[in-house]
Amino acid sequence: MHHVVLERWSRGRSIIHRRDPRAKLATLLVFLVVLATAHHNLVWLSLALLAFLSAAVIAAGLPLAGVLARAGIVLPFSAVFAAVSWLAGDPGRAVALLLKSYLSALAVLVAVSTTPLPALIRGLEMTGAPRFLLMVAQFLYRYLFVISEEAQHMTKAAASRGATARSLAGSRSRFRAAAGALAVLFARSYGRAEDIHRAMLARGFEGSFRTLGALDFRGSDACFAALASLLLILTRVAIERAG
């Protein structure tokens, strides 16, 4: 599964992995803005940014081909819009859509696969994003696997009782069966959430997570963020001047 691979990648010890999450988030934002606001010489800029990201992937010790392929997740969606733009007589925009969406997804993927998600969310928390929302997101990620597994068990059980056999049941009754399954999943998730809540209260939860080991933003992190951002901005300026 997608996120299992990400979990494995993000536990590395390379020079990129060891940077503070806030430094990586700042660099990611600069990258995304530099790319999103570019209009001239987009192909050359994209090649330069691709080289930048590839260097980061290699420095992080991740499989380059694997990362490049995984970022391709966005391509089917962008390809549809690129095709529509092309048909409408705007081939320049079609190319821009594909390049920009792919490179943005790749940049996010590089940031996420060199930072464990809890650390990334703690980094976000310190930048002033609503803490409540981030805690909900963290819980969501934690129970994603648990609830998804439960849903898979339920679909398997339903299939083994003949739910997919078209001849046995009409479309209407299969629809109602699926709705019933979802309702059961909802009730079970709700019950599980209440159990978790009680267990957390019993262990002294008072409304916020306590973490072991604080993040510290060192000089090397500041250097990394500053140098990488400067490199990105200068690359863009140089390419636009040349064009």
């Binding site: 819009f81 805690m135 969501l140 479309s171």
Partner: protein, 307 residues
């Protein structure tokens, strides 16, 4: 429909990000008031439920199947503010972990799906959920939530300059309507199944609101969505309409003073030299004016009714 990065023009994503930040803060505060902080696990686990729910397929006629989107269902069970928070958390995790939707486009996606979608989905239930029209209101809520967020996303793409031939636009609108109706059907079926398991899950809206008031507000939401779409597909259409019908002559004198031609002139002359910043500022100022006007009318109507 998750918009990836690179699709929206800079003024569009920047404006919507700027709008999404305080809106999310407000909704989070509201959800915190309804759910004390210690119930965070519930919201997180329900977010995971929405993810998992997409694995359960609903048969739709000829060999195809659809799945739940979930905004309206969450609003009917957890309340609109908490549902918005859960949807925003889902969008954040999707953007970070699954590369489904962009980071710069997170603001637009949150506005479309977590805020506008959930609000539009909750509206019919809020108005008629307690009375005779309960089933219909649940169905309409599911339909509206998907329809409004899809239309907003499409409008944002069109404003950003993504060109679409008329036929493509028609087909995608038809698809939106179909997926909206499907969401309505699934939401209604799941709510009915839930009620037979454990009726306490579904919120109870106040009964006995006037049908006319409700119809007007739902109609306003639909009109606004369709209007946004047409305005973005043909930005000059409204001005042409005005010229042809002769409204323009009157409208100009009325409207030109504060926001002439969507440009805030006094701001423009001082520090907002780029034209898009002026336009975005004028647009936001216009929205704020409309919002304040609606608020004032709402207050006046409420006072009138209570006397």
């Amino acid at each position: 429909m998750h918009i990836p990065d690179g699709f929206l023009a800079t003024p569009v994503w920047a404006t919507l990000d700027a709008a999404a930040l305080p809106a999310t803060g407000l909704i989070v505060r509201r959800a915190q008031r309804e759910f004390e902080e210690a119930r965070i696990p519930l919201l997180g686990v329900m977010g995971a439920f929405v993810f998992a729910a997409q694995m359960i397929n609903f048969p739709v006629g000829i060999g195809t199947s659809g799945h739940l989107v979930g905004g309206a269902l969450l609003a009917f069970t957890l309340g609109p503010a908490a549902a918005s928070v859960v949807m925003a958390a889902i969008l954040t995790i999707q953007a970070l972990v699954f590369q489904d939707g962009g980071i710069l486009a997170l603001g637009p996606n949150v506005v479309n799906m977590a805020i506008a979608g959930v609000m539009a989905g909750y509206l019919p239930f809020y108005l008629w959920g307690g009375g005779r029209w309960r089933k219909l209101s649940i169905f309409a809520g599911g339909t509206l939530s998907v329809l409004v967020s899809a239309i907003l996303a499409l409008a944002e793409l069109l404003i950003s300059g993504v060109k679409m031939p008329g036929a493509v636009l028609g087909v995608s609108l038809a698809l939106f309507v179909v997926s909206g109706l499907l969401e309505g059907g699934i939401t209604l079926a799941v709510i009915q199944a839930l009620e037979s398991i454990q009726p306490g899950f579904i919120r109870k809206p106040a009964a006995g609101r006037s049908f006319a008031l409700g119809a007007v507000s739902v109609g306003a939401v639909l009109l606004a969505a369709v209007g946004v779409l047409f305005a973005s597909a043909a930005p000059d259409g409204i001005e042409r309409l005005g010229r042809e019908t002769g409204i323009a002559a009157h409208a100009r004198t009325l409207l030109a003073t504060p926001l002439s031609g969507y440009q805030v002139t006094f701001l423009h002359s001082t520090f907002l030299h780029s034209s898009w910043a002026g336009k975005a500022g004028a647009g936001l100022a216009g929205l704020a004016l409309i919002y304040i006007a609606c608020l004032a009318i709402g207050r006046a109507v409420a006072r009138h009714r209570s006397v």
